[in-house]
Symmetry: C2
Subunit: 541 residues, 2 copies
Amino acid sequence: MKHIRIAIGQINTTVGDLEGNSNKILSCMKEAASKDIDLVVFPELSITGYPPEDLLLKPHFIKENFKCLKNISQKTGDTIAIVGFVDEKDGDIYNSAAVICNKKIICVYHKMHLPNYGIFDEKRYFKPGLRNALVKTKDFSFGLNICEDIWTQQSRIEERAFSKAQFLVNISASPYHINKIREREKVIGAKAKRFGIPIVYCNLVGGQDELVFDGRSALFGKDGLVIAQAKAFDEDLLIFDLDLSKKQKKTHSKTKPISEYEEIYSALTLGLKDYVRKNNFNKVALGLSGGIDSALVACIAADALGRGNVLAISMPSRYSSIETQKDAGIIAGNLGIKFHKISIDNIFGSYLKTLSLHFKGSSPNIAEENIQARIRGNILMAFSNKFGYLVLNTGNKSETSAGYCTLYGDMAGGFSVIKDAPKKLVYELAEYRNKREGNDIIPKSVFKRAPTAELRPNQKDQDTLPPYDFLDRVIDLYVEKNKGFDEIVKRVGHKDIVKKTLNMIDRSEYKRRQAPPGVKITPMAFGKDRRMPITNKFTPH
Amino acid sequence: MKHIRIAIGQINTTVGDLEGNSNKILSCMKEAASKDIDLVVFPELSITGYPPEDLLLKPHFIKENFKCLKNISQKTGDTIAIVGFVDEKDGDIYNSAAVICNKKIICVYHKMHLPNYGIFDEKRYFKPGLRNALVKTKDFSFGLNICEDIWTQQSRIEERAFSKAQFLVNISASPYHINKIREREKVIGAKAKRFGIPIVYCNLVGGQDELVFDGRSALFGKDGLVIAQAKAFDEDLLIFDLDLSKKQKKTHSKTKPISEYEEIYSALTLGLKDYVRKNNFNKVALGLSGGIDSALVACIAADALGRGNVLAISMPSRYSSIETQKDAGIIAGNLGIKFHKISIDNIFGSYLKTLSLHFKGSSPNIAEENIQARIRGNILMAFSNKFGYLVLNTGNKSETSAGYCTLYGDMAGGFSVIKDAPKKLVYELAEYRNKREGNDIIPKSVFKRAPTAELRPNQKDQDTLPPYDFLDRVIDLYVEKNKGFDEIVKRVGHKDIVKKTLNMIDRSEYKRRQAPPGVKITPMAFGKDRRMPITNKFTPH
């Protein structure tokens, strides 16, 4: 057989939805069978969704997942399918791939390299497999492995095993972050070249809590170039013919490049959409202040869920300027989303009156500021409880890092869409969205205005924080690159400001611990990615 | 040498406080030297504190920890010391124990068995060691290992290595949960018997975020019995003479049993005290409703921090009964803590008025209930922001499991003291505290009253939840024992109620993700212990 026809079933699974995921697999298999496909491939843990986390500790979860695999295999014909599932043996479980056809499981591979860093906890659950999979059918033979396996330095034994294969199949659940696609194409392309065989790379797509899987499954030629590529951030059934003759022609790269901002914006949109839908919500509410952060979140929400499913509430106080209030109305109008304006001033007054006896003699400080932010949180949650909206938090990574945000106030919400986007990127994404539209959904005044929380007269973010450009550089070095104080000062100068900034970051861990999840878009996001103790006296600065 | 004198330095370290921890080690070493001690032993990772989590990913943290070890070793004389630290070799790091004396590091052992389950993530950071440590001095020889090593089935090689030792030293950071001490004594006692040598077991003491280490370091005789034991829940320098002659006499168990409730109460007290102090607070504020949960938390807070450092605020609304308001005042009076009474009714009224236009036509529901809870959260946080109190959350495990609590309302706070205590245990601990006092700090009426959130007229917890006895059994089976629906129904019956309860537990994951940390006292606490996805469609019930 010189050519075989392969399909990659790049599906959007949901963690724990064994039946729903099985149905997606079965429906792709049906389509594949109707199109004369020889081999159809599904992502890592396609039956359970990824990552199933502590569901894996429930024995009945493992059993149900196995039932689903049996059920799927019962429905196979001549088309070979590769499905990700959890195998169990002698009380241990394995991150596994089953090769099935003609109602039989013909081979099971156990993932050998288990990632246990960053957002990954696979050693918490799985035993590593000990044997490579070389699958021989009557017409062709291929190697099979799972995600991390292909990112790892292969041992001699592994390399030898694959030397007899005509191609390699890797099934993955590889989460998105900025530039990951270039990293991925480099690593997998290099492996294809090294083994001298094509690689069929099947990645998951969809959002799961903090993670977005970007899809972009691909066929890599033996020269390392991408020959065919599935959609980014969407389901796809990618079909191609694979030339198995030794004299495979030179290939041309067929990656589908998208701009960095389009990519990030798509990741945020899919992450939000899937969180909302997979948690059985359909509409969201957010506070629209007239500032850049909530403006961007409103755009993403309207794009993800449809403008009819987004409620924006402007909640001015005595410190809100006419300009920001006006901008909030314009943005909502441009997007065509629902919009309420609710003054918090009477409620704020009643707090001040109730607390006047206890606060007597103290001058207004952060207490009075945070009361306002928490009134807004309370109002948004009241709309959530009354009408079923999921509340979106609109904080960015710069303020989350520095703790420049109010617990239970602007931090309130079920999902924090742009929590991993530094302030500079927020502006860039807003600009991208305006450009895409061809006109200013977000008015120019929003870009020009100095950032302000408007919780006291004439307040500016820069009264408390270093300039955002500087702050974002420090965050990049300290949070994402784990650099120490001396190294950071060497790079950016301003010893005293760096010291103050690192202190702000360290001291805000308790706030971040209570933050809702949001879409990871950088190599190091807050959340499962960065597990810092709250109680922590390490301050070498 | 037939006898040697050993000291166990059961110290309370703080994560990241390299200098403070080093000073504690040095001061114990000084005392040991003055008392003719041959060997002084400190807990696992005594230089860094345990668990240092992602601090371990900072190269400058590892460097600083090594500097501290060198500094400590420079100050050693004839007394041998064993200190826990992080070793580094070729870019990998190891959970390590250094044997030091006469200004030299004479041996370094790398932990071989790395726990990566429950609250443990050691494989995220450390490489496992490959070699046993058998330390020979001119006068005696001993085996050395670290925590999990002794809980694991030893290989032949390990057993053989220790056959030449006169005793074994294990340095640990073994966190507390109910009954852990019995488990621990069984496991370590069995190992002493199996190896036929005494075991010097040094455990950490103190609170760190969700964890409490209970100390109770001990000398186990070769017959497996405890010969000497250090204090529970407190620092201690336990000194004893170890008979190295083959004809060691039969020993008598010298454990210091404490009652289950005293033990749990002590764990909660130490956990709270250390969280507050190690995070540089000294006073706490809590809402005192007149119910059993906040009453117990007030007692624990007064015991942990001193009554002068506790502020209780009663925040009645139109739905608060005269009786609960009265009981709140009595409890505060009995404890001698500061007490304010602040009606939330005007504020509540102003919310209703502000929202009246939007809520028109809808009947009062959970939205209006939660507004009240969130007003209370806002007031407590205002006291925190104004005067520097750390706010305590007073929710118990039963309501946290079922989601019977309000995000940003009663869930607000920096620390959640009894979050791992089921309702039944809350009553038992309150009773224990009353008994210990010899009179009713918490009035009988609080025990007799049916639990109520008082957020609408005549509300009772049991309008929404199954009876607490039943709920607690389901939580035990589902959360702590990971049993499935069928198994739970088999044990407790009431299929429909079990189904409803499991749904409540599953659907509340998003709330728990935003909850503050609190003291782990059961084998399976919410938090790092139980890592469930929020987005999760696994509902086989």
